[in-house]
Symmetry: C2
């Protein structure tokens, strides 16, 4: 088992990536290939590379500002392209990148293609709720999804919730602008009918404000809506921290007292809402495991991304998705 | 000048509505017509009705669970239908309701029709940012908006920001899933081009996470995306309060100390993020002023909704929208 990691992707690469991989390697029995500039990787590793970690050379880096597809075409020897090619050639089982999300999505989709019976990929993001975490799928890979795509997303999201969150029968919700069956676009009304027929665990339409109640394990939407919901959550969270900082007393003594008394609780909130805890979001539906990390990923986020990817490989996530996806068409025919 | 208020709409109606209107009437020189069950309204008023307030009888109430259009057709004598008819017959200049958003939108749209050169209505919601508040438009009236609709929404949102927020040249952003010009759907790429040609204050695409930075005064999107963004913001805020409560120390003495020290700051946060402070969200683009209030509206929210509606009437908001909308088609032809 081997995971190819784009060592040059992300705001704090290669330092954070290399450190995160070294920390992860201590906990799992899995090979890690650090793909990028060997000299830079060695400098960051400071002699801490174990025999589980190897370095694979790649001379180029795809920048965040580049057009994903163009960059992939031009930079065949970029760290991302080389890592993706390793999975394609079965020299690795999974890929991790904290670089451009668009480029990682394009590389996995174009190079690996979709799993059988899956027509479009989707990004599954874990978000905090009042009762733990839930899966938001798709959070950006397929902005123009149709009802059939949403059905596939639901299958993939449920597989992810089962294997990674450990939820035996994930409850599925369809993101809409009202809870009633007849709400939303023509596509969503169609999706509602199919979901109802296919999934015993379908809990109906769900609105943005109810997502965080913890009543649903998987919230399904197209990639445009999901990306807006994800980023709005990020922005609202950031705004709240800003307000909280402003609400803290200016007087240094009062400030210190509040800090001491709230410290333990606030550390828990930080942990519960920190994306570094969940490591990254997988691009599901492609023929290989692709973990996309936040551009700001620190070593902890990278480490957790490696651990989650390893768990995905161990639990044969893609095998489960392919198995379930094979049952979709028949069920869809029954539903229509 | 007269405002027709649906006295029976909302979770705390008619009490909160009547009390809010009585409080507002003390501050403005404007007639208020409370539409609903006269006996119930008088009971709530407890003799506090001034000569600025009159009661208009309506025998029916539209429930939140009813299909908006069906309910309006069947319940011609509902408080909402009567209030909307008053505006149509020019017996009132504006309408306020904290009942079903769908029913209020349908009543205003079907009965009053759109303003000249406006093809679809939009709900303009004020959301908190790091530097005050901004307008999110459309937050739910037109889920299937096209590029032309978005252009109209931008014009309406800018007029609202000018008259209500007092921003001289509102900066306009287009909600998208990336800041680059070529991001998003075909419709959004088209909208980007037109916005760039038409609005000198167009600041480009904006992602959900940047909405709250306060760099934009008006964020434009279709009603589906806007509704998801609005409700996700609500849900994320609610989740954060939940986490904050959990983070507060369990020990009663520590709890009291934190409460005392944080009280002033937290009250300010509550105020900055409380929808009751902004009263309601107008449905813009229709031939009359329609203020939609949150179902949970308390007396303060209703009072503020009346005050904002009054300001909208005084500043001739609809006149300004019609004037600016008349210039759109020519500008759009230049742009294409």
């Amino acid at each position: 088992m081997r995971i190819a990691v784009d060592a040059m992707g992300g705001d704090f690469a290669p330092d954070a990536v290399v450190s995160g991989c070294i920390a992860a390697a201590e906990e799992i029995d899995c090979g890690i290939a650090l793909v990028g500039d060997p000299a830079a990787i060695r400098r960051c590793a400071e002699g801490r590379l174990s025999n589980k970690i190897e370095i694979v050379e790649a001379t180029e880096v795809i920048e965040m500002t580049e057009s994903p597809v163009d960059a992939l075409r031009k930079k065949k020897n970029s760290s991302l392209a080389v890592a993706a090619a390793m999975v394609k050639d079965q020299r690795a089982d999974a890929m991790i990148s904290a670089g451009s999300t668009g480029a990682a999505t394009a590389a996995a989709h174009l190079l690996w293609k979709c799993l059988p019976n899956i027509s479009r990929p989707a990004i599954a993001t874990l978000l905090p709720s009042k009762r733990g975490r839930f899966v938001l799928i798709d959070s950006g890979a397929t902005p123009d999804a149709d009802a059939r795509n949403l059905l596939e997303f639901a299958v993939m999201g449920a597989c992810y919730a089962e294997t990674i969150l450990g939820v035996p029968r994930p409850r599925i919700g369809l993101m809409n602008i009202g809870s009633e069956e007849q709400k939303g676009t023509v596509m969503l009304k169609q999706a509602y009918k199919v979901f109802k027929a296919v999934f015993p665990e379908f809990g109906g339409n769900i609105e943005g404000k109810d997502m965080f109640n913890g009543e649903f394990d998987v919230v399904v939407c197209d990639g445009f809506v999901g990306n807006v919901a994800l980023k709005t959550t990020e922005g609202a969270g950031d705004l709240f921290w800003h307000f909280l900082k402003q609400a803290t007393p200016k007087n240094p003594v009062s400030r210190l007292i509040v800090g001491l008394l709230m410290r333990k609780g606030m550390l828990k909130v930080r942990k519960d809402t920190d994306y570094a805890e969940v490591g990254g979001a997988p691009l599901l539906g492609v023929n290989g495991l692709c973990m996309i990390c936040h551009g700001h990923s620190n070593a902890k986020a990278i480490k957790n991304a490696v651990l989650v990817t390893h768990r995905g490989l161990q639990s044969r996530l893609n095998h489960l998705i392919a198995e379930r996806a094979a049952r979709i068409p028949r069920e869809m025919d029954n539903a229509s």
